[in-house]
Every structure is written in structure tokens, then in C-alpha cells.
Symmetry: C2
Subunit: 198 residues, 2 copies
Amino acid sequence: MAEPGTADRILDAALVSFGTRGYEATSLDALAEGLGLRKQSILYWFSSKEVLLQALIDRSAAELATALQHALDGAGDGWDRVEAVVRSVFRLAARRPELLGLVREVGRLGPPAATRLTLALDPLVARACAFLEAEMDAGHMRRHEPRLLLLAIYSTVVGMITEVEVLRALGEEPTARSLVRRRQEILRLLRSALLVEP
Amino acid sequence: MAEPGTADRILDAALVSFGTRGYEATSLDALAEGLGLRKQSILYWFSSKEVLLQALIDRSAAELATALQHALDGAGDGWDRVEAVVRSVFRLAARRPELLGLVREVGRLGPPAATRLTLALDPLVARACAFLEAEMDAGHMRRHEPRLLLLAIYSTVVGMITEVEVLRALGEEPTARSLVRRRQEILRLLRSALLVEP
DNA sequence: TGTCCTGCCTACCATGTGGTAGGCCAAGGT
DNA sequence: ACCTTGGCCTACCACATGGTAGGCAGGACA
């Protein structure tokens, strides 16, 4: 296992900080200090802060895509696929909590960062839409506007993972155990919301 | 109708900018320019940027609370109450899109801002939890952990309103008409997720 | 008329920011 | 032994930021 190069270490640190504290709230100086480097070394690898963000988006989108792809490949049909995706997202959230934070942050930043992420994940989105539509056509799921349904699922899943403050406001501490409970809860919710009872 | 005082005008502008561009990304200079003022005039009314944020949170929490309170007072029982709340939130989102953006932003900022908002909305949260629990006890709704359920509903509603970029990524433009469709979609979803069929 | 207070201003400052210019040094090829 | 190159550095800069100090006009009030 070769130790990661400097560029990757920078990306890792940026992922954590951008994903939790936010892009604007993260200074290159702070980032560098956490790495035992000088700001100029970051600018050596990534010519500007924005370029760093772009590279981070690209890498994160790829990681996200392969994780979901992997989950889908090993999944069965119908409801299993939904469950596989949700489980895979939660597994990702447990291993790399900042990743979903970054997704949310990028959405907040708007173009051009958001468009970059959008483009990278577009194939997956299209695939998901087609899947939902097919399931509805087959009568396995209740009829909904596929894209709005996807937005709802996205919002719920990402929200239940990243809304740490709301969680705290509700008297629930953001532990690993809580994450599992949230996953179970969301799966039950989606199941009863979507599945047509036989 | 008396025209609003300077302090309120500042709060209005801050709400828009904090709620859409974000707190850190908003400078007092930019805020002042939009108001035809100098930065020092803002600092005259609010002694620091953080104080301005606190005042804004207080005012917004109050507005949110009264809106929800009003909706609840005029609502019937059971499912009607859920629907009334959701409709009221969407009405608020149509009239003041930035308000929910601010809620999300404050959640992202974390303490102490988040705790302030939390405290202000705590009574409503408690009331909602109690309501959900009662409905489940009465067998009207499927059993769920009330607090996690509330988090899920919150995430879905706020997400479907504020995730403009995701919406765009799905090929849907964030118009007023779309907002209505999203509201209908979410109500149907919640209905089938929560209600026990008679 | 003189004084105080309110609301806003100009001038200024310390700090932190992203970014540029250029140098140092070790590894490696020739 | 010499040169090149990659990786990181110090030094510096222009600029934006939040915030301080203090002044100026005008209305209220005695």
C-alpha cells in the first residue's frame, strides 16, 4: 500500500474542510497548516483555490459514482435496487462523512461548481429515473413524477445524513449507532411510501 | 402602512443574502451597497456582523413560528394538521424563498447560531413530536421514531424547496408552478408513507 | 439660542485572503 | 562534475474584510 501523494493528501484535507466548514470558510492557509505544508505548496499542485475545488469535485463524483455502480451491480431487482443504493450511500456516509457534506455544499455554491458535479453524475441520475419509471409502469411502485420523486429521495437521504444540527436539536447525538437507526428508519419510510402492497 | 425603518430594511437585505449566498459569502459592504448605505450605518444598527445574524435569526424564527402557529390554529385534526403545516411552509417559501434558505444556512453554520434558532423553535418541535406520537398511538399513522420521522419530513420539505441546483440538474426549472407541483408530490408521498389505510 | 441626540457619514486600521515571483535543495540522468 | 527537474519554501503584494474613531447635519427641546 503506497502512501498517498501530496496532491491526494491535499484533496483529502480539502474534502474534509469544504464538506464540513464550507468552501468560503476554508482558507488555503488553514488547509496547508493541517497538512504541515505552506499555502504555496497547495498552489503548486492546484493553481488556484477554484481549481482545487474542481479537482475535488471530479474525484468525489468519481468515488460516488463507482460506489453506487458497485452497489447496483451486486443488487437484485425491484425494491432491492433502491435498498442497495440507500445502503451504499449510508455506508459511504459512515466511512467518509464529508463526502455527502461536499455534495450539499457544491449544490449550495451553484454554478459553475454545481454544473460540474451535475454533469459527472448525470448518467446515474438518468439511470435512476429510468428505473423508477419502469417500476411504476410495472405496477410495483406508486405513480409519481420520477424526477420529483428522485429529488425527494435525495433530499431525505442526504438530509438525514448531513443535518447534524437539526439532529442535535431533536435530542439525538450524531453517533454511528444513530446513523444505523436513521438508515433503518428511512428504508421503512421509503418502503411504505413507494411500494404497492401485494 | 408605515414604511419599514432602517433596521428592518437591513434585516430584509441580510435575510436575502444570508439565505441565498450564505453568511460568510456576504460582506457588510455588499449588503450596504444594496441598501444605498455605508457599511458603518449597518454597524450603527447592529454592532457586529454576528449580532446582525443573531437578530435576523430571532426575527426569522418568530416569523416562522407565527406562520406555523397560524396554520395549526386553523387546521382540523389528524392528517389535516400535517397537510396544513406543509402547505404553510410552502406558502412561506413562495412568499419569502430566502427564509428557508436561511434556516438551512444556520443549520450549516452550527453553534452558536444554530442553537439560537433551535431554542426559538423548540416549542414547535416538541409540539410536533407529541402530535406524531399521539397519532401513532391512535393507530392513524404507521409507527416510527417520532424524532427521526420529524427529521425526515424536515429534510424532504426543506430539500424540495431549497435544493435549486439539484432541481436544475433534474431538468426542472425552479418556477412558481414547479413549487406547486413539488408541494403536491410531497403531500402524496407523505400521505402514503405515513397514513394507515382504513 | 444653545445643547443634546439620532442617524448617517468619511477616514482609517489590523487582519486575513488568494495569488505572484523567485530561490533553495536533493535526486537523478549524462 | 554538471545540469535539469520536481517539490517545497520565504518574501511579498493587492485587496477585501470586519471594525474603530470621530465628525457633521438636522430635529427636539430647554
